[in-house]
Symmetry: C2
Subunit: 549 residues, 2 copies
C-alpha cells in the first residue's frame, strides 16, 4: 500500500480540515446530486511571476504528496463537520466522508525545485470531483508560499552571485511559527546556504549559522570581571594563563601601530569584555558583532585584539558581522584594517576574514552594494526574504479543466484570467544553444513534440503570436508523483539537497536575460495548434453575447 | 505547579528549538563565563505602527505564555544541539540546558487585544539572562505576525464600518499552514466575524462561512440531469415533486416581467443547473456565486429563479457572492433587481438579501467602494488581509534594558532605534473627555501617576516636547501574566471572544483622529522627567566621542 510508505506533512496541523468550508459544502452538494464520483481534472498554476521577474521556482510538492498519502478524515473531525454543516445534511454523507482517501486520485507534477512559468500547470490533479475539490485549499496553501519564498531566495542568489554565502535569519519576523520554518526550508531549496533557525535545521538537515546579538554585547559592563580558567592552545601543547591580559596587550599594539592608529583611540571596554568572553567560549569559532558602539572606532579594533590573542594560541578567528550603517563603506574599512593587520603582524589569512552583512537586506540593497563596491563575503537576510516583503503572496489557482471527459473553461472579462481547458501534457523545448526556448501545452491525446521535428507553438490568447520551433531536446514536464491504487509507477521524492541542486542547475541553464533584475525578457509559453482551436471554440460557446444599449 | 495548568502552544512545532542558533551560542558563552544566571530585564516593543497608521493591536500573548509554561528542552533536542554546537562545548552545559525551565522567569504584559503604541513595552520579561535570551526569537515570532494581522483586521473593520459582516477567506494564499491558521485566529481577534478555514474554526471556536466556487458552477453542463428526490417544504407539510420544473417556471416569469426584462435574455443553463443542485442540497442556506458567466445577464436572474422556487416552499435564500468586476455597480444592480422582485412578486425581505463581495479586497478598495456608493453587506477578504500585503512584517524587537540591576541602553546612529533603558512601569493616562491621552513610562521605583495630580510627560528623545497632564483616569498597562515560582498572582488568559471584545471596545474608546486612514494623528508616548534624565545620562556615557577629520 503506497500510502504507508510516505510520512505525514511536516506540520501536524496540516489535516483534511485545513481547507475552506466551501469545499465541504460543495462536496455535500455533489454528493446529494450523485455527482461526487465524476472523474475530474484540475490544474494548479499561477498567472504572473512574482517580484516583477520572469521566472518562478516550484516548491511544496513533497508536502502535498505527504498530505494526500495520509488523507483520512478522523472521527473528531467528522464530528466537527457535522456540527458545522446545516443540520439538514444527511448522515450518509458523513459515512461517505469517513471512507474518503486518495487511492483514486492521481497527481502529475513538475519536479520540485524546477524553474516554472505562468499558465503552465505545476500540478495536474485527477480524481473524483468531490475529493479533488477537498484538496484545493491545502494544495494551494502548501505550494503558494513555498514557491514564492523559494523564488525570492533564488532571486537573492542571482543578485548576490555564486561565491557569496547566503544565510537566512528571518524566524523572528516571519508570518508565524511555520512561516518561519517553511521559509528556512524553501530558502535553502532556492539556493541559500544556511539558516539561523534551529528547529528547521533539525527537521530538514539545513546547515546552521549564528553569532551573538547586541544584547550579548550590552550585557557586559566595563567593570565586569571575566571568569577565566586557563585555556589550551589549539594543538593542546601550551596553556594560556592570562587571556584577558593578552587581549589588552594586543589592543595596545594595535593602538601604537602607525598604519592603524588614525582610525581609533580608546575602544569600548564593555564590548572588549563581551568579545573576550565569547572567544573564551568559542576559541575555534570566534565571530563578533562589531556595531554595538562604533564599528571603526571600537568594534573592529576590539575584534582584532581578541582575534590576534587567539592566533597566538593557534586559533583562527571566523570573522565579523556588520548590522547597521553604510555596509559598503564599513566592509571596505574592515577589510582594509584586516589586511593592514595581516601585513603588520604577519598573520597569514587575516586579511581574508569573513565579513557578514545584515540589517534589512534585500535584492535591491545587495544590488546597490554591488554597484558601490564592497567587501562583504556573506549576507544574513531576514524580514525581506522570509515574508517576501516585495510581494508577500503568489497567486496560484486550482481550476477545473475537465469533468466526465468534457473540457471545461473558466471565462473572465480579463483575458489573462481565462483558464486553459482539458487534460494536458506539458513540454519544455530546448533550442540550438541548449537553452530552454518555449514551454508547450498539448491535449493529452495529441502526438507529443519530437526532437528535430517542426512544430507550431501558439500563444493561447493572441492569434497573431505564433512561431515554428524545431526542438533540439524535449523534456516532458508533468510526471506522476501520486498514482493512488492505479499502479502507475511514480517518481521518487528526492531529498532536499537534490532539490536544491536541481534549482541551481535549472537557473544556470536559463538564458541570462530571463534572470536579470531589470526588464527581464519573458519566457515563451504556448499551446499546440489543436489546443488553441479548442480554447477558442469553447470560449465562443460559453460566453454570452452582449447587448449594447 | 503553575505550568501544569496551561496547555502547550497551538502549533506543536513551537518548541525551544524554534529559535536562532545564536541564542544557544550566547547561552553557552554566558554559561562558560558564569554569567548565565545574572538577573536581566528585556522589553519587547515595536518602533513604528504598521500600514501607515497610528495604532497597533497587541496579539500573541497567550501563545507566548503557553510556550514558557511548557518550556523544557527534550533529550532529542539536547542531542541535536550537542551536534550543532562546536565539539569543544562542555558536557556540563548540556546538563544545564536539560534543567532549564521558566520557573524563575516573570512576564508582565499589556492585555492581549489592547490598542498599543510604539516604544511602549508590550511585554517585559525578567529572569536569568541565558534563559530569557532563549525566549527572544519565539516570543518575537509569536507576537510579530499575530499583532500585525490583528491590526490589519482592525483597520479593515474601521474602514468597513461596524454594521458590515467581515469574513476572512485567506487560507489558500497565506504564508504556509499556520500563516493561515494564525491569520484566521488573529483576524477574528481584530474584529472579523467569521472565517472559511475549517481547521481554525475547530481550534479556536471561530464562526465558519462559505458558499461554493467557480469550479462548482463550471462542473455542471447544460445537458446534465439533476438527480432529484422529492423534497419537503420547510414546515414539513408539503412536498415538491418537480423542483427543477418550478425553477424554470420562475425563470420564465422573471423573463416576462416588464420591470426586469431589460437586463437579461437567455441565462446560462449550466449555471442554473449548478444553483438548483446547490439549493436542493442546502434549501435553508442557499447562497450562490453569481459571476461565473455574467452577473447581470445570467447569475442574478438564475439565482432569483432558484430563490423564488425555494420561497414557494417556505425557504428563505441567504444571498449572493460577487467575485469579479465593478463591485460597486454590480452590488447596486443586484440590489435593484432584488427590490424589484420583492415588489413584483410580494416576497417580503427579498430586497434585503445579503450581498457579499470578494476579489482582492483591501482597506483601500473598501474605502473606494464607500466613496462610490454600494450595496455590499458583507466582505470576504483573503490575500491582502492574511499576508498583510500592504506591509507584511511588524518590527517588534526584544531589547536588554537592565542586567544585575544596572540599566542598559542600546545606542544607534538612528535616534529612533535607541532603546529606553531600565525596568519600567507603563501607564495610560485618560483626559477630560474620556479618551486615552498619553502613555507614560516611568522607572519601576518611581511613584506612579495619580488621578488629578499634575505630572510632566516628556518625549524620550526630543527635549523640547514636553507637557503637563492631569489624568482623569490612570490605567497600568503591564500586568503579570507569568510569575514562575515567585508566587505573584497572575492574570487569567481570557477566551478569544473576550479578547475580541476588548479590541473592539478599545478601538471605540480611541479618539477618532488616531484611527482615520489618511493622515491620522499620532498618539503621544512619553517618559517621566526622571526617566528622561536617566536616558540622556546613559547615552552620553556610552556614546564614543567622534573625531572630525
Amino acid at each position: 500500500m503506497e500510502a504507508e510508505k510516505i510520512q505525514g506533512p511536516t506540520n501536524p496541523m496540516v489535516t483534511p480540515l485545513l481547507t475552506d468550508l466551501y469545499q465541504f459544502t460543495m462536496a455535500y452538494a455533489y454528493w446529494k446530486g450523485n455527482k461526487h464520483s465524476e472523474p475530474s481534472v484540475f490544474d494548479l498554476f499561477f498567472r504572473t511571476n512574482p517580484f516583477g521577474g520572469e521566472y518562478t521556482i516550484f516548491a511544496g510538492l513533497e508536502e502535498c504528496i505527504r498530505f494526500i498519502a495520509n488523507f483520512r478524515i478522523g472521527e473528531e473531525d467528522i464530528a466537527f463537520l457535522r456540527q458545522s454543516l446545516p443540520p439538514t445534511c444527511e448522515d450518509a454523507f458523513f459515512e461517505y466522508l469517513r471512507g474518503i482517501d486518495c487511492s483514486n486520485v492521481q497527481v502529475y507534477a513538475v519536479a520540485e525545485g524546477s524553474v516554472v512559468f505562468p499558465k503552465v500547470p505545476l500540478m495536474r490533479i485527477e480524481g473524483p470531483v468531490a475529493v479533488v475539490q477537498l484538496l484545493e485549499t491545502p494544495f494551494l496553501n502548501l505550494v503558494n508560499f513555498a514557491s514564492l519564498v523559494a523564488t525570492n531566495a533564488a532571486r537573492h542568489r542571482v543578485v548576490a552571485g555564486e561565491s557569496k554565502l547566503l544565510l537566512e535569519f528571518g524566524l523572528r519576523r516571519a508570518q508565524g511559527p511555520d512561516g518561519g520554518i517553511s521559509a528556512s526550508k524553501y530558502c535553502y531549496m532556492g539556493g541559500f546556504d544556511a539558516t539561523s533557525n534551529v528547529a528547521a535545521a533539525k527537521l530538514f538537515g539545513i546547515p546552521l549559522r549564528g553569532t551573538h546579538s547586541h544584547a550579548f554585547v550590552s550585557s557586559f559592563m566595563s567593570t565586569d570581571e571575566i571568569v577565566h580558567k586557563p585555556f589550551c592552545s589549539s594543538d593542546g601543547l601550551t596553556t594560556c594563563e592570562d587571556f584577558v591580559g593578552l587581549v589588552q596587550i594586543w589592543l595596545k599594539k594595535l593602538q601604537c601601530t602607525e598604519s592603524l592608529r588614525a582610525s581609533f583611540g580608546e575602544t569600548n571596554q564593555s564590548e572588549l569584555k563581551a568579545f573576550t568572553s565569547y572567544a573564551l567560549a568559542f576559541p575555534s569559532n570566534f565571530l563578533a558583532l562589531v556595531d554595538t558602539y562604533d564599528v571603526v572606532r571600537s568594534g573592529i579594533p576590539n575584534f582584532c585584539a581578541v582575534a590576534l590573542a587567539l592566533n597566538d594560541f593557534g586559533y583562527k578567528a571566523g570573522g565579523i558581522r556588520l548590522d547597521s550603517g553604510d555596509l559598503a563603506y564599513l566592509s571596505r574599512e574592515s577589510r582594509r584594517f584586516f589586511c593592514a593587520v595581516e601585513k603588520e603582524f604577519g598573520v597569514p589569512g587575516f586579511g581574508k576574514l569573513c565579513i557578514t552583512a545584515s540589517n534589512d537586506l534585500n535584492e535591491k540593497t545587495i544590488d546597490a552594494l554591488n554597484q558601490q563596491g564592497h567587501e562583504v563575503d556573506s549576507y544574513g537576510i531576514g524580514t525581506n526574504l522570509v515574508t517576501c516583503y516585495a510581494q508577500p503572496a503568489l497567486g496560484c489557482v486550482f481550476k477545473l479543466v475537465e469533468i466526465n471527459k468534457q473540457p471545461r473553461i473558466k471565462l473572465s472579462e480579463n483575458v489573462s484570467k481565462v483558464s486553459i481547458p482539458c487534460k494536458k501534457r506539458c513540454f519544455r523545448l530546448f533550442g540550438k544553444e541548449g537553452y530552454p526556448s518555449v514551454d508547450l501545452m498539448t491535449g493529452v491525446n495529441e502526438p507529443p513534440p519530437k526532437v528535430s521535428e517542426r512544430i507550431l507553438c501558439r500563444d493561447p490568447f493572441n492569434e497573431c503570436k505564433r512561431a515554428y520551433m524545431e526542438p533540439q531536446r524535449v523534456e516532458e514536464l508533468l510526471k506522476c508523483y501520486w498514482s493512488g491504487d492505479s499502479g502507475t509507477p511514480r517518481e521518487e521524492l528526492p531529498p532536499i539537497k537534490k532539490i536544491r541542486d536541481r534549482c541551481i542547475q535549472q537557473l544556470n541553464q536559463l538564458r541570462p536575460d530571463h534572470l536579470r533584475r531589470v526588464e527581464p525578457t519573458p519566457y515563451k509559453v504556448s499551446v499546440s495548434a489543436k489546443l488553441y482551436d479548442l480554447i477558442h471554440f469553447l470560449w465562443l460557446n460559453e460566453a454570452p453575447i452582449g447587448e449594447l444599449q
